[in-house]
Symmetry: C2
Subunit: 220 residues, 2 copies
């Protein structure tokens, strides 16, 4: 069993509920994404609707200045900002990595969520937030690691695919699995159909996992 260690923050004044002293814990969550932000939007909606447990989204960052995900900042009144990824295409440059780490660390995150973040996270970043980085991958890992997982699953001809939330380690898409949801591919489904189903599954799985992790975490 993979141990969940999540940093939590207590409010200064414990609330009293029914005569019982309740400490209100909050797990700060930072989201990184590169694209449309469908999953980030879903998480912010889940938080608004009280479905995200003790998790609180405190920042949304993107490696692309024009990524629609950044527009969620205004809609949901949460800090959302472009962070320059440096000169590499598939990872973060050395200076950029340092800026990412410092910026994220400033939020004292209990959880860093990669939701469609299209760069590989390297050792210094992973060590900075060890056991606190989770990734959403659009396949039933270990099948179809890497890019374009949905298209490759369709081309392979699988009848069942899905999505996976897992801890991020240096083994790309190979870290411990937290949870998965299956999606059936029906005869006649187009790639668009399958993408839609997988994204719908992601929108159920990711908030559910984050809510669970936020409840399971123990205060330090």
């Amino acid at each position: 069993m993979h141990m969940v260690r999540i940093r939590t923050k207590r409010t200064l004044f414990p609330r009293t509920a029914g005569g019982i002293d309740v400490r209100v814990r909050v797990v700060n969550v930072v989201i990184l994404g590169s694209g449309r932000g469908g999953n980030a939007r879903r998480l912010l909606e889940a938080q608004r609707d009280g479905e995200l447990g003790a998790a609180r989204i405190v920042g949304v960052y993107s490696d692309r200045p024009d990524a629609p995900i950044l527009k969620l900042g205004d809609t949901f009144d949460v800090p959302a900002r472009f962070l320059d990824p440096g000169g590499y295409r598939t990872k973060l440059g050395g200076d950029a990595e340092r800026v990412y780490i410092e910026t994220i660390e400033s939020h004292r995150p209990g959880l860093v969520v990669l939701a469609g973040f299209m760069r590989v996270i390297k050792a210094p970043f992973i060590r900075a937030f060890e056991d606190r980085i989770i990734n959403l991958h659009p396949s039933l890992l270990p099948s179809f690691k890497g890019l374009e997982a949905i298209r490759r699953a369709c081309e392979y001809g699988v009848k069942i695919t899905g999505c996976t939330v897992h801890y991020v380690t240096e083994d790309v898409d190979g870290g411990p699995i937290i949870d998965q949801e299956a999606v059936r591919i029906e005869d006649g489904d187009t790639l668009d159909d399958v993408e839609e189903k997988v994204h719908a599954a992601e929108h159920r799985l990711l908030p559910d996992v984050i809510a669970r992790l936020s409840r399971e975490s123990s205060p330090r």
Copy 2:
């Protein structure tokens, strides 16, 4: 789309149903297995209960003389026989392969079903029954190809596994997928629990696939 070509046999006397001339097709099915024969039993039960479409099980063969699967012959009144696999441990020897091919061919099979047959089928065998050999594998392929798939899935820590029926090609466990069924692994499940669930899924999937293939096949 993988083309299904199944050899079929017509009965001599077409039945008449409601004034419409109906040709009754039968798809002969040969089963190969090495072990307990859980899936072979399930297929024979499905046939008895009229759930196997136009498929008719005409022979059960094993590469192990003491395999319990062979006892199904008496129970279900179907030919069941040990066929000597020759001197190799993981494939069929040259002479043995010829005996296997000739014995199976004598049944004029529309479908050859590998249900827990623990030897790799090689090119001559595959060519003899091209597009008519299907295999049942206890994982959601392409994950966990090869032996001990259930144990390896549990050890990896997947939350969803399952079973796959696929056409047999020279690419071991890599042929075109016909259908799959997912199985959820719950926290606390033992290996035994997961094996039981996967076998239950196999017992649903395999008869269903054979019934469908038998109906989709077009007479030659």
